[in-house]
């Protein structure tokens, strides 16, 4: 092992770490606001990448129809609730607007996708298709049990993960996709080959972390989200609506996951089930951050990425074991040092 290899491995680890960092901050975000350990975060990465690939190759992605289906399901539920006297007509107007939005997006995809889209158009359209999926999942799976225990929410999140993997297999098939790079540029710095794509991944990841940090620290909306996280009932008393906080959080999580998918799909091949391992490694990083701190979760992601890269070199057969074993000393250390809160 010479310095060249040390440097190349470090660079590879850094790019992977940026991907895990995006997954980790989304997991921290969702947990901080809703107390859901969001196992399917990685699925947004896979769905995003494959939706993007579909648009580029000229197919209307199945996720667009899924999004439309989700909007219709929510509208049906709202109408049913209004009939039972649960919600106001305002909610129905909103869910109808959701259907119109979904129809508009599907129309744009159906009108412009055949023959292949340019990347400039495909990126916003992918986000437009994917972001509503986040709040839809929240509304259908989690909102009815917003006050449930962390364990209960974890079990539901795991179920959502399995559903999403199954739907992904149906929607995208078993084989993977690889996209052309957004910018086809590369240079060599000494022994290290640096591609524009790998710089994109790192910059986007850093930008997302800083943006979230600022959002939660400085803006009123961000503080409102934190208030919901700390005490749902108390926040409600001062006029913050928990439901809206949850929906906004899931929209952000879906947006982060999709961005991540768009960024890494030219770097590697993405399959319908690639997301799980990315999500799991993001989860290890989030645990290192105590499921609370964005900068610490990012640091954890860096540790996971670098460790994975070097252990692939030294013992490729055991690298997953090495990465996931990392969680044991971290948990041990945290439980020895940390202050314990009982579940309310």
């Amino acid at each position: 092992m010479n310095t060249d290899i040390v440097l190349i491995l470090a660079q590879d680890g850094l790019v992977n770490a940026a991907v895990y960092a995006l997954a980790a901050i989304a997991i921290v975000l969702v947990y901080a606001v809703t107390r859901i350990v969001f196992v399917p975060q990685g699925e947004f990465v896979a769905y995003g990448a494959l939706t993007f690939a579909g648009l580029l190759s000229g197919v209307v992605p199945t996720t667009a129809w899924l999004m439309l289906g989700g909007a219709i399901a929510i509208c049906v539920i709202d109408v049913w609730k209004a009939y039972r006297g649960g919600v106001t007509s305002k909610a129905i107007v909103k869910s109808l607007a959701g259907i119109f939005y979904a129809l508009a997006v599907v129309f744009v995809a159906w009108r412009f996708a055949p023959g292949g889209m340019s990347q400039v158009l495909a990126i916003p359209l992918t986000l437009a298709i994917m972001i509503p999926l986040g709040p839809q999942i929240y509304r259908l799976a989690f909102e009815p049990l917003a006050g449930a225990s962390v364990l209960m929410l974890l079990i539901v999140a795991t179920a959502v993960h399995f559903v999403m993997v199954g739907v992904g297999l149906l929607a995208f098939g078993a084989e993977g996709s690889r996209n052309p790079p957004v910018a086809d540029f590369s240079m060599t710095l000494g022994p290290v080959l640096v591609t524009a794509q790998s710089i994109w991944v790192i910059v986007a990841s850093l930008a997302a972390i800083v943006a979230l940090w600022l959002f939660f620290g400085l803006t009123l909306r961000g503080r409102a989200l934190r208030a919901v996280a700390v005490n749902r009932v108390g926040a409600k008393l001062v006029g913050i609506r928990g439901k809206h906080a949850g929906r906004l959080t899931f929209a952000l999580a879906a947006g982060i996951g999709t961005t991540c998918g768009i960024l890494i799909s030219p770097v590697t091949t993405i399959y319908y089930d690639t997301g799980f391992l990315i999500g799991l490694k993001g989860f290890v990083a989030a645990i290192i951050g105590g499921l609370a701190s964005y900068p610490l979760a990012a640091a954890g992601a860096l540790l996971v990425g670098i460790l994975e890269s070097y252990s692939s070199f030294w013992a490729s057969a055991y690298k997953e074991v090495i990465v996931f074993t990392l969680i044991i000393p971290v948990l041990l250390c945290r439980s020895l040092r940390g202050i314990h809160f009982e579940e309310e």
């Binding site: 590879d12 992977n16 490729s316």
Partner: protein, 383 residues
């Protein structure tokens, strides 16, 4: 009503004059091995319903890639349906589980699994078992010989961290040793890995003349792209597990020039006219793609077709000795399949013997490459 009466009368008239042969198949048309089982089932659906005065009835069951289900299917086929022969199953573990049933019921079985263990060592039970896919050792040997012939001295291996990768690595190591090629590295990765840079660096520090990637489908693209990105200039080999159109789509120009072993049927139109597998291969291609569309052909379906070719040649001879549906007929059928000689099939020429229940010559697998985004014939065998 008159149609039914006519059918009954015709059947009554027909049965003594012709024979009714029942053939059973258990294939993995669902589950993880479905990509093997589906083309196999598709092939069986295209076969003629009679041969040499014998009418043929197929009973095709799905074993969901599950060992227990395969064994149960075999039991059902032999004890309830009393079939004259069994085709299947699609994978090695399933086929191994069926051997005991087939030999117990004294019914010939033609497996579509790849491992040599299905017919080796030849014992009292395996007397009843035949197979049509090449032994995996034979394919590894083909690759190793191609390496020796083209001046490769050292070889590195990057394979799946699972049974597929382990199996290929083991066979390759043995074949490489036999042919004087030394293996310099054995690296592992997972199907869903997003980066194999570290493994590729490890491989490149051992500076091999060639790298073989032991993976199947589109996940086999990643190591190859990474090797190219890191500036690896040597030869890159893949296994026959990558032969599908998705591999070409995802690999695009990164997989040009890749070498891999295959049944010649994939490049049948490019084979020289004197190639022994050309005629049967073309016939099969016309039959299969005529129904399922251009470029739908796979070597798995061709394995099932070869099993049919064995039966097609043996059935009339066996029917001359005994009546279909009897133990004597199954005994005769087994002997006739074992006696198959110089029978051209899509994967080579069958020459069975009491010791060899595959019957293909060692040089039957072909080396193919990827040129202009499609499969191209290099040469037959590795010698």
């Amino acid at each position: 009503m008159w149609k039914i009466c006519l059918a009954v009368v015709l059947a009554a008239l027909a049965s003594p004059a012709f024979g009714q042969v029942k053939l059973g198949a258990t294939l993995s048309t669902t589950g993880p091995a479905a990509s093997l089982g589906i083309p196999e089932r598709n092939t069986l659906q295209l076969l003629p319903k009679s041969i040499g005065g014998l009418s043929i009835e197929w009973i095709v069951l799905d074993d969901a890639s599950d060992t227990t289900a395969a064994r149960k299917n075999a039991e059902k086929l032999t004890s309830e349906d009393r079939v004259d022969a069994i085709v299947g199953s699609s994978t090695t573990p399933n086929s191994l589980a069926m051997i005991e049933v087939a030999s117990g019921a004294q019914t010939p079985m033609i497996s579509l699994g790849a491992s040599a263990r299905i017919v080796d060592p030849m014992d009292a039970q395996r007397r009843w078992v035949f197979k049509t896919p090449y032994h995996d050792s034979m394919i590894a040997e083909t690759v190793a010989r191609h390496m020796t012939a083209t001046g490769v001295k050292t070889l590195a291996y990057i394979g799946f961290n699972d049974a597929y990768g382990e199996g290929w690595g083991t066979e390759l190591q043995k074949a490489a040793e036999r042919n004087g090629v030394s293996m310099s590295a054995w690296e592992k990765y997972n199907r869903t890995d997003t980066s194999v840079t570290a493994q590729v660096l490890k491989v490149m520090t051992s500076s091999p003349d060639a790298v073989l990637i032991g993976a199947s489908g589109t996940p086999a693209v990643l190591p190859q792209v990474t090797l190219r990105e890191r500036g690896y200039k040597g030869k890159i080999y893949q296994t026959s597990g990558v032969i599908n159109n998705d591999f070409l789509r995802v690999g695009a120009k990164n997989v040009e020039g890749t070498l891999l072993p295959s049944g010649p049927v994939i490049v049948v139109e490019q084979l020289p006219d004197d190639h022994p597998a050309k005629a049967s291969g073309l016939e099969y291609k016309k039959l299969y793609e005529g129904t399922y569309g251009p470029n739908s052909l796979s070597t798995f379906g061709a394995n099932a077709y070869d099993a049919w070719l064995l039966l097609k040649s043996a059935l009339p001879k066996a029917a001359a000795k005994a009546k279909p549906g009897t133990p004597e007929f199954r005994q005769a059928l087994r002997e006739e399949i074992e006696r198959t000689a110089n029978l051209p099939a899509t994967h080579g020429v069958f020459n069975m013997s009491a010791q060899d229940h595959l019957g293909f010559a060692a040089d039957s697998p072909a080396m193919i490459t990827i040129r202009n985004g499609t499969w191209a014939f290099v040469k037959a065998g590795g010698s």
